[in-house]
Every structure is written in structure tokens, then in C-alpha cells.
Symmetry: D3
Subunit: 194 residues, 6 copies
């Protein structure tokens, strides 16, 4: 980009007095509905490669939906306890509300999170948004997405199949404490009467 | 800025395939409550120096307040007719709603406006926001701010003093058509009863 | 309607001192994702029949969605440049954000746009909303809707088929400049991993 | 729950000086698009069992959608007139806007409604939300949900089948007065052109 | 108004099939923080002159502010019980949230309330907004505004002076039940520490 | 409170299967504009008394205002680095946006934060809100509020007086890195021209 702020992107000129201490500060963002072992694989490797990793909890304002059963606070606890169990400590967790306006979403994320210069993502959409805003994008580590997915965990919970083997132990415990199984079953029943 | 997206600002890397046609595309933004001859002086000079000038109507969602009596649509008409009377044509007008969140406001403006690379402003706050986002800032032309100000125009309207000499002819006509004088007087009466 | 403001509509009594200069001021509203030759046909004829035509860019806050890939500012530029290429000049362009509340949407449009007394639309829903609010509705000119549609343009872009013949030249150029093809392809890839 | 405010729910300690006069104050909530005879059956029995019944009109901000054709004010009138025709008087009607954030929805309902201690619902989702917030939940009376449903009423209106036998007489009259049949037909026509 | 929808107002043409049953349906709107005897005087007379009176509770979403201590639900109860004590029954109560955008506020009120054709108000601002939208405006009955005002009631509560003589008995009872005195005192203490 | 959910508060009944592990999980909430040594005193003692302390960053969406100069992300970093320098680790940091609706604010905080059962505050307003929702309230530790206040830090920055002695070393460093001094000075200049 050569000096234009045109067409939805922000140009390159900045402050001269800015010293960069944040060259290995990274961001990874997900919905974590709930946190599963695939997420853990990604976070572990990103945290290893980074001086500091910010973990954004996306769609933070949503809960009690079939696709988004848990509150941001519940998901925060799941991540925090699972990473402590693994001995990882160079991370921050930040709930990030959806604005449902993608042209301002990156600026929103930036305003809510500690500094980062690099974004880990394999999602073409996330990569596109941060790339148009000028961030460095890295591929996030691969994992078996068919098995380790929030969709699959939620499906198994509704179907009374084994879901505990897909999530960290702390997640399983927290879901039990908050009657997460009951909640997911209730919110998946279609019923429009009063 | 050396490669960091840290701390509220967006970094410099962009697309290589972006050809810059917009090096003399500019933005000037104001509330225009109402458009006055000082605004006209600024717009005339900015339009002369630019290939294209976007005129942002700030606080677009507000009207019928003492500080913001006119709707964005009424202000749009005031600007459009006054510039046509002057023979200026290389401009776009864009109503821009306040989000009351400054960390995302620049991204919001960028998403709503045709491309621009330079922002005209003497306002330290506006300069700060666009500067932190990496835009080129130019001083806007000077004019007599004591006399030519929206505050003064509105004060004179309430006080039945001469206000027409402070605004373009088209503005005076439009205010008459919409009973703007009656509106400004009504909304300035303090009264909290029902 | 005989003197009632009941049931979602606004009644007829107004100010006596209102002189109507706006009897041939019209509105046409679309999403323009992107502007295509069918839109151009409509705008050309509406502009001919009107003293002044306001072109509302609907769903202005959305971009980077499969159905809404371009920002309001990008769409503004597409319209402005295409109409200039045709020599049309009696128009205003206004980005109009969706409020997702139809009972107040007409009042919102009115507040953001220069005055208009007539609305061009063939869409039964748009006609209904403006008609309930008391506006004059005119049929917009017909065009071949199977070929000239935003849906078809976006489909062809994803499928690497010819889409340039469906849009004005300026639109094709702008989409190239902003890597619109890349953006549309990226945001159409389904992927829910992190 | 033993003294914790943890995990999305609010704990038990309150003010000592609170005297409970509201032990038989109840809430029932629906969208009433439109009010039908099944709703009437529920409201009649809930009102009988309660000292006072608050009837919440859900999704209050929506109208002119295929699923939500009527404004909250139109629905308010339907309920009020139908209950008066039945001689029921121990009720309040409260339009309740959706916030699309379920974790705060119960607090929102509580803030908008007169006091209630019990919620009538057969909907597992509604029961879950109020139950997590600590409210007493009662099953609402049964009725024939296949025939008496808003979906069915709206379907019959579009299909020109008999719908009047499914709704109270007042509802039928109000729909006629506001041209509700015309509105529902118009907003159900798919058309994306301008 | 002669056939224009221009400049923030909506024009006169409506549906022919609309039969007016609502010629004596009225609206009065206030914040009722809290309901006092001056409000009661106004409501009593407006209800007498009207077939039906809708009482809008303005700023419905606000509570726990010094100027707005009570929730909409608490205020709803105050009004309902006080009017029942007086034997008035031809009224509806509707909480109306502020949108902080006056150009769409009337349309918002209309969408939330049962039909009305006339608005009672002495407030120049309220009169202006409904008048620009074409409603009939009537002066609301006079009362002693120095003594009977929400500001005065709240001031006396903070100062431990007699406030009970300014409000209906039911209001005094409800304020006691909800520890309204304690709440108003707490929220009036200036303190910015943590 | 004896079994009522009436009047703005939520009642006591909960799930039986809830095991309380969170009896010493606490919340303290502030704006931290910026974090100063008084805040540090409070956080240090609260963290000592608690198994886990959630630190809520209030007014998270605001920045670049005279009263709220720093983004939530900048404030997050200030807190995180200052607590690490002190060797405190049993805390979570959560940005919490203002909703400007106090009746739902506690539910909003609960949804965004890890579990807590006790709230530390000396602020009568905060105590009132959490107390009405049934939380245990503890007095937060005392400190010299005249000197250690965000207002005083910001005043000294504008006045070029010593402010560094009022804040932790990490805060001083971060403010330098982001040109926080320049930002605070710019946003405090009153100027309404364009």
C-alpha cells in the first residue's frame, strides 16, 4: 500500500516515537463454545511461539443459544483453568463482543486487547479482516477438526454421547457445576408456544 | 511506527496490488449546525486543493437538540445547495453517525466515506484520532471563529438578532422553509413538566 | 386516512407555512452490492423524471458478508463514478444504516436524506413501508432481473465466470483496486475453526 | 444454591425490610403475532390463578417481518380489547424489546414489568432462563398448539384461508382496520430488486 | 402541509379503507420519577376528556440515576395502583425507551403504543416533535409546578423533608417497599473511588 | 427478601446441584484511567483476602475522552504488568462495557466475568447495585483518595506537574510508549471549529 487510506483500510504512517516492544505479542480469537482439545493444541503452540498471547473470546455477549450456550465469563473460566493446568502463563484473556459490523471489528478488537502485532488464524474470513487492516497473519497449528469442534461437543451433549474426551478436564468440571448439560438440552428444544 | 499494531493503532503492511489514485482525495468533517460562512471558506479552499473532497456531516443521528437542531438530511441539503451556488462540484457529502466510541470512530468514518488519504482539521482532537490511525493531517484554512460559529448562529436565532448574514443564502432559505427558527426557539425552552 | 395517527402511521396535519418546492424530489433505495447495469437503468430513468433524486445506500453498516461484501463508502464511490461517466448530476447519495426495526425505518430514512416526496420501488415491502407512512409510490423502471442482480454478480465472481459485463466500467475498476474479487472469495469460504 | 453468585446466576441474599405482597403476582410472555384463542386460554387461566398477571409482549421492537407483522402497539390493543371483552381486569400489559443477549434478558424483563414472583411457561428455553435467575416456574395451561398458533394464523392469511375462527373477535377487527391482511401479504413476497 | 414529505416530516396521504375509531384516543407522556399529585391532576383530566388515554413512561430504560431513580416496572406499578385507587380505568400504560434520536422518537412511540390521535403536553419540545409529525396537540391541565415536581420530591427525600404529601398514597407505599429512600440517598452520594 | 422477585431484584431460589467452590472468589471494579498506587493498594489487599480476584475494567468502550483517555486494552496492559511486577497472580482482568442501564448492569457484569460471590467497593452506588442483586459487599481498603486519584493524575499530566510518583512504574512506561501525555493534552483542548 502506497500512502493511501482509501477503501476501508488504514494507511501506514505512524508516530516516530513509538518503540516496538511487542514484536512477538500475538492474538488468537475463537468462540470456545466450549473450549476443546483442538483449541488447546492451537493455544499451546501459539503461546510457545509468542512472548505474549492474547486469547480473544469472540461473540462474548451471546449465551444460551444452541450455537453459543455459555457466557463469556463461563468460557473465560474454562480457558483460564485449563491453561493453568498445563502450566501456561504468558497469556491474557479478553471477552470481545460481536458488533455485527466487520468494517469496524478489527478496531474494536484492538481497543479491547493488550497490544499484538501478529494474528494466528486459519480462517479465511478472519485472515482477510486483519490482513486488510495491515496485521501480520500466521497459520494456526493444525488439529483434527472433524472430531475436535464445538459443534461436535454440543451435538454429543444433546445426544448423550461421550463428549468429555474432547475437552480438557477443567471444562468438563465447569460444565457439570453450572448444569451445562441441562442448559444445552433445554435450549435445543424447538418450541414456540407460551 | 515500526511494525507494531499495538496500543490502539493499526500497523502499516497492506496489499501490494493497491494502486493509489486517491493521493489528493481529502476529508473534512463538521457538524454544520447550521452551515455558516466560515465553513464555506474552509470547504472552498479544501476543495480547491483536492482532486476530491468528502464532506462528513458529524453527529448525523442527532437533531432537535439545542446544540444539534437540524437533521442530517436538512444539513445535507444546506451544504449541497450552497456549494452548487458557488459552482463547486468535486465533493461528496456523507452523514456520519456518532458512535460515542472514539477507538472505532475512524474505522467507522472510513467505512462510510469514499476513499481519502488526507484529513483537513484544526481541531486537536480530530487531528489526534486520525493521526493515531496513520492519516495525513493538514491544517484547515483559518476564518474568524468568534463570529462564524454554529453556536453564535443559534444564539442569534433564539435572541431574534441578525443571523442571516452569517450563513449562505441557501441556508437561510432552507431554515425558513422548515420553520427552523420556531424549532430552535421551542427546543431551547427549559421545561420538565408533562 | 381521516385524522387518526393510530396504528403505526402518522396523520396528515402539518404546518401551514410549508411551501412545497420538493414535488419532484424522489428517493430510490438499494443495497448496490455491487451497483450493476440494472440499477443503472433504474437510476437513469428516475433521475430523468425527477428534479432531484436521492439514492439511498441501504444496509450501509454491513460489509465483508457474503451478501454484503462492500462497505458503504466503496458503494458510494461506485455509484458516484458511474453516474458521472453517464453525465447524470441531479442526485444525492446517502448511506442509510439498517436499524432492523421497520416501524421506525422510514423516519430514519427521512432524517438522513434531503427532502423527497416520491419513492420509486417495485419491491412490495418497501412500497408497503413508505405507503403506510403516506408517501407517493411510483413503480421503478423494469429491467432483466435474472441477469442483472447483485446475487448473480457475486455468484459469478466466486465461480470465476464473467461478471464484468453486468456492471458499469467504473465498478469493475473499483473492485479490482480494492481486491474485491479476493475479498468475496475469502468471505464465502465456510470455516468455523480458529 | 448455597451463597454463590457464580456462573451467570445471582445469589440469594436480599433486603430484610422487603415485605412480600407479590406472592401471587405472575408473568406470562409471548410474541402474540397475533393474539389467538390458544393465548386467550392460557391468559384466562393464569389470570384466574393469580392476584395479578403481567402479560409481556416479546420482540416488541419488531414489526413488518413475516414472523412479526404487527407492532407492539397493535398487539397491545389486541390483548387489551380481547381481555376486556372477556371481563378480565387483573392484568398489566408490557411491551418487552428483545436484547438478543439472553444473559441479561431476565434482568431486562424485571426492570420493565410490575413485580412478579412466578413465571408461567411451557417453553423449555424460557423456563431455563427464569429458572437460572431463581424464579418460580409454573406450567402454562395446555391448548391445541397445532391449530392455535401464530404461524398458522399468518399462513392462512397469506393463503386466503379462514383465519378469523382462530382469533378473538377484537383481533379480527383490528387486523381489518389496519389492513393487516394486505401488510402480511406484501411482506411475504420475496423480491430483492429495487 | 401541502403534499411533501420533505425535511423530517411525513406527508398526509394514507389508506382509504382506514375507519377512524380513535378520534378521542389520547397520549400523555412523562418520566414519573416518581408519580406525584401534579401528574395525577393531569392524568385525571386527560382521562375524563378522552375515550382512552395512553400513559407513556418515558426514559423507560433508565433507573438508579439521581434524575431517574426508579425502574419502568416500579413506575408502572405506581401509576396503575394510584389510578385504580381513583377509580380510573380507561387507560393503558406503556414503558417507552429513550432512543436519544429525536427524529425517529415519535415513530418509536407510535409503534409501542395503542393508537392515539391527540397528544396532551405543555412542554414546547414534546409539542414540537409531535406537531412536526402531524399530531393534534392539546394543552395539558395546569397544576402547581413548583411544588409538584419529581425534582422536588427527590430533593426532599435526600434532605429528609416531607415528600409523602406530594405523592399518591400508593406511591409512598411502593417507595417504602423497595427501600426507595435508601436507593435515592445512595445514588446521590458523589464518589469516584473504587 | 422472602421469595419475591419483585421490583428490580432477583429472588433467591436456585439449583440444588450447585456445589460452591467460589466462596472466596471476589470482584473489584474500576475505570483505571490510569491505574494508580491507590488502586494497587486496594488490589493487593483484595487479592490477599481472596482465592481469586476478578478485576473489572469499567467503561471499557470509552477512550480518548478527557475523563477516559485510555482504551480498555491499554488499561488491561497497565494492570497486568503492574501486578506481575508485584508478584500477584491470582487474578483475572475483564473489560466491562458500560450499558448506561443500571437495572441490567449487574447481570451484564456477571455474564462477562468468571464467578464471584463477593464485591469489594466503598462506592455507595456500586454497593447499592450489587446489594440489590443479592451479592455480599465488602469495604475495599482505604487509601489517600485526594492524592491517588485518576482525576489528579490526568490533571497533573495536562499541567506538566509530576504524575509519575502516583502510578506504578509499568504504567508510566506504557503511557510514554503510547504518547499518552500528548493524547491527554490534545483531547483536553476545547475547540469546536472544523
Amino acid at each position: 500500500m502506497t500512502g493511501t487510506a482509501a477503501l476501508g483500510r488504514v494507511p501506514e504512517k505512524g508516530y516516530d516515537h513509538m518503540e516496538t516492544d511487542f514484536s512477538k505479542y500475538s492474538l488468537v480469537i475463537g468462540r470456545f463454545q466450549p473450549l476443546h482439545l483442538g483449541h488447546m493444541e492451537v493455544i499451546r503452540k501459539c503461546a510457545e511461539e509468542s512472548d505474549h498471547l492474547t486469547i480473544g473470546i469472540g461473540s462474548a455477549q451471546y449465551s444460551h443459544y444452541p450455537e453459543n450456550p455459555f457466557t463469556a465469563g463461563e468460557r473465560y473460566l474454562m480457558i483460564e483453568e485449563s491453561l493453568r493446568d498445563e502450566g501456561i502463563s504468558n497469556f491474557s484473556i479478553v471477552p470481545v463482543e460481536d458488533l455485527n459490523r466487520y468494517s469496524i471489528w478489527v478496531a474494536h478488537v484492538v481497543s479491547m486487547c493488550p497490544p499484538f502485532t501478529c494474528v494466528y488464524s486459519n480462517n479465511p474470513f478472519t485472515r482477510r479482516l486483519f490482513s486488510e487492516a495491515g496485521f501480520e497473519i500466521k497459520a494456526s497449528p493444525l488439529y483434527s477438526r472433524d472430531i475436535y469442534s464445538g459443534t461436535e461437543v454440543r451435538r454429543r451433549i444433546v445426544a448423550d454421547e461421550d463428549w468429555r474426551s474432547l475437552v480438557p478436564h477443567a471444562v468438563s468440571e465447569i460444565i457439570d457445576k453450572i448444569d451445562g448439560v441441562g442448559r444445552i438440552k433445554d435450549i435445543n428444544i424447538k418450541d414456540t408456544g407460551i
